[in-house]
Amino acid sequence: MIEPVNVALGLAALSAVLSVIATYLAVSDRDLLRALIFSALQSTAYAIIFLVLMAPDIVLVYVPVAVGIYPAVVLALIKRVGRFEGGEGGE
């Protein structure tokens, strides 16, 4: 039988490993739009970690901010300054 403590901590560990992969891809990708999407994926993994670590009030604030507003702001920025890293810039 699998004990509940192992299920909860296993979910947190899985999310943590997913967040490391997403962070690496977000930092290494030269396409800023894909980097932004990987960053939102990392935020989702952190939201699961916060939920497992018994902080539901943090999740209520963190999910709209880190998965909603923050990618929208950076998306508007990327639209103006150009999508690809190392390029000549937008206009």
Binding site: P4, V5, T23, A55, D57, R80, G82
Partner: protein, 131 residues
């Protein structure tokens, strides 16, 4: 705490350390300002996650989890508060992180507007080209 639980907790902790290292690498070595901004938000999120991990508490038994720091039994009196204190996680880091998330959003918007003005003035966001 069994050995398997300890190793799961260590996976979470070392993943956070790895995220800190990768985000610091992104902030220091990537020339693009937008990439620096993305890396910096990952870094601040990781710092918040560290604070939440510090406030966590070990499970009293394998079946019984710690509870969120919310008093649901209002009419229970002193006994209900005593039970909550013995079973709940630390609310203090959660209060700090709640504030830090909102302040981090404000800082992100501020930096995004600064990067936008830099792009309008210099025509690029690459620090190597403009430096």
């Amino acid at each position: 705490m069994s050995e398997f639980e300890a190793s799961l907790s260590l996976i979470v902790l070392f993943s956070l350390f790895a995220n800190t290292a990768i985000a610091l690498y992104g902030v220091f070595s990537k020339p693009n300002l937008v990439k620096k901004l993305i890396s910096m938000t990952i870094l601040s999120d990781t710092a918040n996650a560290f604070a939440i991990v510090i406030g966590y508490r070990a499970w009293p038994s394998p079946e019984e989890s710690p509870v969120p720091p919310v008093l649901t039994n209002i009419s229970g009196g002193y006994a209900a508060v005593q039970e909550l204190v013995q079973k709940s996680v630390d609310p203090f880091p959660q209060a700090l992180v709640l504030t830090a998330v909102v302040i981090g959003l404000a800082v992100t918007i501020f930096l995004a507007s600064i990067i936008l003005h830099y792009h309008r003035t210099h025509g690029t966001v690459e620090m190597v080209v403009s430096g």
